[in-house]
């Protein structure tokens, strides 16, 4: 038997020791988040009030000249209209396609459902940049492969397709949006209780009536919030409008700000760019507000899957092959641009795909681009950018989530709000602000300003997903650690972090792949020393070295897929298992 009467020595002094780390972490975090989120916004506002030609941070003058210029210019309204038409058009088509695909995979017995899911999940990492270049090669007016094929097939004398038009921009963007929309809508379908549909069928409603009167109305709030979210992200996007829209002379807000502030187009006009940026920011905030209206505050954590139901799958009979055919056609449309890029990357110059050329295929272009010092630097920089952006963002997000979910109070609320704010800040606007801040500092031209920008714009995503995970961890688990004698820090490290590991890894990978494909920061803040793969592709493409750019695109695509594919496949499989 044990002699347990002996007691451990007396309690320590009356201090908040052990908890001393917490206030320190909290204030550091507050300062940091205010600086990286609030700082750029203030500087942006300040810059937008600069007089013409004045350098930012070097003038004390205040003027409304830039805003007057923006508002009096007839082009501004065209710009806003372009932006909205582009976004709304692609979201309507994209959501319709994604919605049908999601319904087919979730609610019918169509074959190949797992493959469809795996494909969609994997496709989310394909950079729009790559898709855009692929489509230019496919349907450009002079020697687009598809154009020539159509001419040949139907005996046409002129070009049918062009990538350089609003219609094409909408079409290509909506195709590129489908995977993301698919994942969101199928999540929505999964969380809907199929008993509601069964009840209608018990009362004699036909399948079509159920779809029309029960399923769609029930999904409407969810679909509209997904739609607004996608409009928001399309408006903020920069790569497709840059690749297609500049040649098409269809400027949208993001490309306009870029052309105003990038030095490659002559003299940068930071004041005007900032004024446009502020207006852009207001538009994005309006959409943000609509998004919150659509999703009630309680549903803010849309990332969290709810309870999974097991619905009765509709037997499609013959028509399942039609459905499958439709999806395969979509996959073909998604694969075509990548196939043409692979083809181009294997030849010294862009040539139409022919059987005769099969013998000339070689990896020369890869060797050529990889031997360039700029490209080597770009690859090294990209690895650094991915690693540091993802790690720093996730680290900050973990702490912010803890304070927001566990401690609440004013500090928690402030952190929660501030870390969510960048959701409404278009990356290109953030890029301009960062450019203005760091232009005269030694940080300019290093990879670190790209890291700062990425951390800011990806913070909302990381905080949302980690908070959602943390909210599901019982508070007692942490308190038990405290009562067992572990301080705040130890409890966080030994209990919370291991339990959040899955969310942390997912967020890390998501940020890494997005930072790797982003063109807005990398182009806007580009110098010869901080070039990354995405901006190197753009440079090579504009040079023009089409086969080199294609090779680099394929390298980027393979790199990003290798990083994220395993986890995406696991996620798709898990969905199938649970469902």
């Amino acid at each position: 038997m044990m002699a347990w009467k002996c007691r451990t020595p007396a309690i320590g002094g009356l201090r908040w020791s052990g908890m001393g780390v917490r206030p320190l972490v909290q204030s550091t975090l507050l300062v940091l988040v205010v600086l990286i989120v609030g700082g750029p916004l203030l500087v942006l506002l300040r810059t937008s009030f600069l007089p013409d030609g004045a350098m930012p941070m070097a003038s004390l003058e205040f003027t409304f000249a830039q805003y007057l210029a923006v508002l009096s210019s007839g082009g501004t309204w065209g710009l806003i209209r372009n932006t909205l038409v582009y976004a709304a058009g692609s979201v309507v088509i994209g959501v319709a396609l994604a919605g049908s695909f999601a319904w087919l995979t979730e609610r019918t017995d169509m074959p190949g459902r797992i493959s469809v899911r795996v494909f969609m999940f994997t496709w989310m990492t394909v950079p729009p940049l790559v898709i855009g270049f692929g489509w230019v090669l496919l349907i450009n007016p002079s020697n687009g492969a598809l154009n020539l094929l159509l001419q040949h097939l139907f005996g046409l004398s002129n070009n049918v397709l062009t990538p350089y038009a609003m219609k094409s921009m909408i079409f290509i963007n909506s195709l590129a949006m489908v995977p993301t929309a698919f994942v969101m809508i199928s999540g929505l379908l999964r969380n809907m209780d199929p008993k509601l549909e069964d009840a209608a069928s018990v009362f004699g409603a036909s399948r079509l009536t159920i779809l029309r009167k029960i399923t769609l109305p029930l999904l409407t709030p969810g679909i509209s919030s997904i739609g607004i979210y996608l409009v928001m992200s399309t408006i903020q996007s920069f790569d497709l409008p840059l690749i297609l829209g500049l040649t098409a002379q269809v400027p949208v807000l993001s490309t306009r700000i870029y052309t105003l502030s990038a030095s490659e187009s002559g003299i940068s006009d930071y004041g005007l760019a900032a004024a446009y940026g502020t207006i852009f920011l207001l538009l994005a905030m309006l959409l943000m507000w609509m998004y919150f209206r659509a999703t009630r505050a309680s549903e803010r954590y849309w990332i969290v899957g709810g309870k999974a139901f097991k619905p009765q799958r509709l037997a499609l009979a013959r028509s399942k092959y039609i459905a499958l055919g439709g999806i395969c056609f979509y996959f073909l449309l998604m694969l075509l641009p990548i196939l043409i890029l692979i083809w181009t990357s294997l030849l010294p110059f862009y040539r139409l795909p022919t059987f005769a050329d099969l013998t000339h295929l070689s990896l020369q272009a890869y060797g050529r681009v990889l031997s360039r010092p700029l490209v080597r630097r770009a690859i090294g920089n990209t690895v650094e950018l991915l690693f540091f952006s993802a790690s720093v963002t996730v680290l900050i997000a973990c702490f912010v989530s803890w304070f927001a979910v566990r401690q609440k109070g004013w500090a928690g609320k402030t952190l929660d709000l501030l870390s969510f704010a960048p959701m409404a800040i278009p990356p290109i606007v953030m890029g301009v602000a960062i450019l203005v801040i760091y232009l005269r500092t030694p940080l300019y031209g290093t990879i670190w300003i790209l890291v700062i920008g990425s951390v800011t714009v990806y913070l909302p995503f990381a905080t949302r997903s980690i908070s959602a995970g943390l909210a599901q961890i019982h508070t007692d688990l942490e308190k038990a650690a405290n009562v067992s004698g572990a301080g705040w820090w130890t409890g966080l490290r030994r209990i919370i972090l291991p339990l959040l590991l899955q969310q942390i890894v997912n967020a890390w990978l998501w940020i890494a792949t997005h930072a790797g494909r982003d063109l807005s920061f990398s182009l806007l803040l580009m110098t010869t020393s901080n070039v990354v793969l995405a901006s190197a592709i753009w440079l090579t493409w504009s040079y023009p070295d089409l086969s080199g750019a294609s090779a680099l695109s394929i390298i980027l695509l393979v790199g990003l897929t290798v990083i994220s594919a395993p986890i995406q496949i696991v996620a798709a499989r898990k969905l199938e298992r649970d469902g």
Partner: protein
């Protein structure tokens, strides 16, 4: 060992500006080696007190001392954080860390606690405590693969392994099914007694409280309404709430009057004059209730109604045969008295019977608004011994 003084804790209701007082000036002290129970309905503040003692919640006012050391003082705003208070705790949810094995869970307080324990010592002590809770073979099992009872044992082992000065139990049995609860209750008590741990036990179950504790503090709406040994509280409730909460009873309304023939105060009721121990603070003409436990009555023959104590006669309204006992409801005037009799008693509905209650089993409590509310509640819920509605 533990001293809690005028502890107060308020919560701000989310959304509204209203503030609710969860703990309203609670004072008590617990001796070394004693099992002290905070008993009360849900929302009475008992868990909040426990959390304030553990240090995972911070009170607004008052003082808490553990083993003579001040760990909380509202006046000086002194707060010793939970990890330095040297307590062990079983959470209602058990809070077994799902990413660790049983061994790792139990070893945690030794490895990451206040004092680092050498590895060999950790192994020895974890083995020892797992042995104590009979979980030796489960040491390497991942925590999620445990049954409710096993989780409870892990929680117990974890709360004891660092030999805390104070053990805190937050409704430790409420997540178990009825059968397991009974056996775990006995086991828990054995382990605690064996180690001589000073223990604070929080529960809403009066049977658990009575079987486990040396002392019970009965709580209601943030205050302690009565404190004492289980037997004292059960047999001598001072309020209708205490009587009702500790078990089933009959509340018989009456008036205190002075009986000159026997030279002391008695209570006039519809059952007739009842000889009961009237507390000194009650005077003649005071409105009171007499608390009569259903078990305290015995069946007496019709001629035998004058025996010791108080006897009354009524008509059997209902008989429920429960096997080990028989429950009868006897109508006396407008009152319906519930009695629990031996299974061998032969009673039939409609029969006229006499019941006798010893004087010591008639507890007199004031009939204030609060007691009336309890009486009305009790009648609607269980139909116990209050005036029959016409």
């Amino acid at each position: 060992m533990l001293a809690v003084q005028t502890l107060r804790k308020r919560f701000r209701r989310p959304g509204r500006n209203a503030v609710s007082t969860a703990v309203d000036g609670v004072t008590f002290s617990v001796n070394e080696g004693c099992i002290f129970t905070l008993l009360g309905p849900s929302g009475c503040g008992k868990s909040t007190i426990l959390h304030c003692i553990a240090g995972i919640e911070v009170a607004d006012e008052g003082r808490i001392e553990i083993g003579g050391k001040l760990v909380f003082s509202g006046e000086d705003r002194k707060v010793v954080p939970a990890n330095l208070r040297d307590v062990g705790m079983i959470f209602q949810s058990y809070a077994i860390w799902p990413h660790m094995s049983v061994y790792e869970n139990v070893a945690f307080p030794l490895i990451y606690g206040r004092t680092r324990t050498p590895a060999a010592e950790v192994r020895r002590r974890v083995t020892e405590v797992l042995d104590l809770v009979k979980l030796t073979e489960f040491a390497d099992r991942p925590a999620p693969n445990l049954s409710g009872g096993q989780q409870q044992r892990v929680a117990l082992a974890r709360s004891l392994v660092h030999r805390p000065r104070l053990l805190l139990l937050d409704e430790p049995l409420s997540n178990l099914d009825a059968k397991l609860r009974e056996s775990m209750r006995v086991e828990l008590r054995q382990v605690i007694n064996h180690l001589g741990m000073t223990t604070i036990f929080v529960t809403h179950d009066q049977v658990e409280a009575m079987t486990m504790s040396d002392q019970i503090a009965l709580m209601r709406a943030g205050r302690i309404v009565q404190q004492g040994a289980p037997r004292d509280i059960y047999l001598g409730p001072r309020t209708a709430f205490a009587a009702d909460f500790m078990g089933r009873n009959n509340l018989v309304p009456g008036l205190v009057s002075y009986e000159t023939r026997i030279g002391r105060r008695i209570v006039e009721t519809e059952l007739g004059p009842v000889d009961a121990c009237v507390p000194d603070h009650l005077h003649a003409r005071d409105e009171v209730f007499i608390v009569v436990r259903p078990h305290s009555m015995e069946l007496v023959g019709p001629g035998d109604a004058r025996g010791d104590g108080n006897a009354f006669t009524g008509k059997v309204a209902q008989v429920s045969y429960l096997g080990d006992v028989v429950e009868v409801e006897v109508a006396v005037g407008s009152l319906l008295i519930r009695a629990i009799l031996s299974a061998y008693a032969e009673v039939k509905p409609g029969q006229v019977v006499s019941l006798r209650v010893p004087t010591g089993c008639c507890v007199v409590i004031p009939r204030d608004a609060d007691a009336m509310a309890v009486a009305v509640d009790g009648r609607s819920a269980a139909g116990i011994g209050t005036p029959v509605a016409e």
